[in-house]
């Protein structure tokens, strides 16, 4: 009986960590037989985990030690960035074999990550039909679902019977991306419905497809991969047919690929929300210098943006010298403004990603965020005014209270509409999101603060 791999979180941590620690010296010492023994009981998922956590130089060494079928299962689990890194440490013949064994959509994804010369060489190594399947996908724009769909789709006709369709499926068991969701097409290959294998098995074998099929939701090959993936997940579809502008069937997006697309997009959004470029590979196998590279550009941009606050403060330097106590509240005020702006930006960025908000909703969003910011500002302003007033006197308390009210209102409004403006300018909303808004809100917040202070304190 096949051994079982209980992948509870605890057991996985223990196993994988122990194996990694044991095999690292063995890999460098050339004790390959012992490595093979240790790796043998691991499932493909665990093997991929182990591989990912090894230093880059050891990854091809371990990969080469795997039996052929396990190697290709492990390769499938890796992200395109990792696949690309791994491939560059393998021999030409090994690479060509792995490449030919991939699905056309995975192949297209990997090609995007490879140096052009290697990509060309690999493409020429394919058979004509395989090459055509892959280059067709590469014809669609980056980020579109056309690049991520599988062209290997089984379809049926509305006029066929259930039995006809089942025998069509039977012939495509080996190569079709999915046999569980079958698009129904007309003479011109236009999608007119969809039928599941479950419906087919439940139907009478003479039943005509037109009578038992369901309405189809489809996506255009030019739609963004993220939008198509979210539709697939939210509508709980096992697969979504992908069509051209005339609604002719081109390929299919399966829900497991949709899940991977969303996981990737959410990683990108999370990185951008934190003011970074995404890593595209597991944290522990990313070299420190690459961590630095993913962060330095945004840090520099933000630091340059922050010199604005130095300039604003130097304009009010005389006021500061007169009433030094004003300086004490600067971090609190701009911090609160930044937090309020971030909250609004994060909410709206996520709502855009989920398709809940479109660029045409700009005015509605502005009004909602302005109202939310005003309410938050009133609450915080009252508390702030009372607390500061009690310690530093009423004029300072009034200044702080009014500033909090103004800053929260402005920050929420700006934070709310910035992602929509970014989206309209075809920039990733998450890029414009939090860190950029913080810088902007910091500068305006300081101006508002000192203007209110001058008015209230009469200086």
């Amino acid at each position: 009986m096949a051994p079982l791999y209980l992948r509870t979180t605890m057991s996985q941590i223990v196993d994988v960590t122990t194996i990694i620690e044991a095999i690292q010296p063995e890999l460098s010492g050339g004790k390959f037989a012992s490595v093979v023994d240790r790796i043998n009981p691991a499932s493909p998922a665990q093997t991929a985990d182990i591989l990912e956590r090894l230093p880059a130089a050891q990854q091809p060494v371990l990969f080469r030690l795997l039996p052929k079928d396990r190697a290709s299962a492990v390769f499938d689990i890796l992200s395109p960035k990792q696949q690309s890194g791994l491939i560059q440490g393998l021999r030409n013949r090994e690479v060509s074999e792995i490449f030919a064994g991939l699905d056309p959509d995975d192949r297209a994804l990997l090609l995007d990550e490879l140096p052009a010369s290697l990509a060309t060489r690999l493409l020429t190594g394919l058979t004509g039909a395989q090459r055509r399947l892959t280059t067709d996908l590469l014809g669609y724009p980056k980020g579109s679902i056309g690049r991520r769909m599988s062209p290997q789709v089984v379809s049926t006709r509305a006029t066929y019977t259930a039995a006809d369709t089942l025998s069509r499926i039977q012939k495509r068991l080996g190569d079709a991306e999915t046999i569980y969701t079958i698009p129904v097409v007309d003479n011109a290959r236009r999608v007119v419905g969809i039928i599941s294998l479950r419906q087919l098995l439940a139907a009478d074998s003479h039943a005509v497809i037109a009578d038992i099929m369901s309405k189809a939701e489809v996506a255009s090959a030019y739609d963004s991969a993220e939008d198509a993936a979210r539709i697939c997940i939210e509508l709980r579809l096992l697969a979504l047919p992908i069509v051209d502008r005339e609604c002719r069937l081109l390929g299919i997006l399966t829900v497991d690929d949709a899940g991977r697309i969303i996981e990737h997009e959410d990683s990108v959004d999370s990185a951008r929300q934190g003011g970074m470029e995404p890593l595209g590979r597991p944290y522990l196998s990313t070299p420190v210098l690459q961590l630095v590279r993913s962060r330095i550009v945004w840090l520099l941009v933000l630091a340059v943006g922050a010199t604005l606050t130095v300039q604003v403060l130097s304009v009010f330097e005389a006021t500061l010298e007169q009433v030094t106590v004003l300086a004490l509240f600067v971090p609190l005020l701009i911090g609160t403004g930044g937090n309020t702006g971030n909250q609004a930006a994060t909410t709206v960025t996520r709502a855009i990603a989920l398709g809940d908000v479109h660029t045409s909703d700009l005015l509605r969003v502005l009004l909602r965020e302005c109202a939310a910011g005003f309410t938050l500002g009133t609450l915080l302003g009252l508390i702030g005014a009372l607390m500061t007033g009690a310690i530093f006197g009423a004029p300072i308390g009034l200044t702080i209270g009014l500033t909090l009210l103004a800053v929260c209102t402005v920050a929420a409004s700006i934070g709310g509409i910035m992602p929509l403006i970014a989206k309209r300018l075809n920039v990733d909303p998450a890029v414009f999101s939090n860190p950029f808004i913080t810088t902007f809100v910091d500068a305006t917040g300081l101006i508002v603060y000192f203007l209110i202070a001058k008015a209230v304190l009469g200086i």
Copy 2:
């Protein structure tokens, strides 16, 4: 022939927006026949979109106008929070009918959102078998996959043939959660392998399951729902068997449910990363006061935390009065520290969510982030020292440069390990993440700044 709904992003925006604007006055004016006409051509997905964007009071009115099968398709697409809101506007009899029509796992999820009295009444309205299926799920802890799995699973035995298994599947077409992935169990119901419907169809009908099945990856019912869902997606499984501590089959997690779990968890992480509680419903249908409620607690906590900066600054008030120019750089320095800390925290929080980093990696993470922070600090510090030195003189330049170096190193280190500490304390890493770290880094950054300034400037 069934009409087709081309769900490209553009067409969807136009349709849905137009319909919403048209039906809102009609719903309030009681012109229901006209509403039905407008809603009729929309697919369930579009109808759900329209419903979500209506004011809460109009949602039950529209829902009641839908034909029965469309109503249940639309209900399935809504999130549990929205379902709960909708249900509270419907009549008892309508609610009982919808509730009985749900899958056991969706029912368990909805019950969590409902007031206890309504939940009890709905449970009592079910048949005995249906009630048992649901209450079994409710026995598992919140957030565990045991609550989210489907108990309606078709299994087979290693000793059965392919034909036996196919006929078992045929009998469960109506109620099984999935018929495409079949766990293989032994006499004690322990999972010993897995077989896909595709493998079954490709096999000889007399083939014994033990010879054609694959190794199974499984998850324990007590594992977190997020971990199980990510395993399902990352290993490209169509379904993941869920087992008890003795590895006996309890239920199954399908990839479409896994996708929804991940989308939800990523929404929660995104909200927490931005310093908020998640909304759990579409942005535009969330009342403004609820936006305020999701944000005010964290804003207050952060503002109270920020009073620490006021205290730190008041300790150094004498220094500030002596050298007012030091105040100019406060926002720049703490902003850069906050950004560096956020970058580290965001990276590590995401790596934890993806299972790339475990709490046992604390030391590795600390060393990596310390190195990354030091490198970033050296780069920024050099640039900062040169620029500030040129304008404000060498001593101020040196102060700024050294402070940036120190602050970046500390911020990245703290930002990197905080999510791991949170995870070990069983707190959501994203809660501890950015806003909390900003506050902490602000205070320590200011102390470092003034200590360096006093040493360099000799005051």
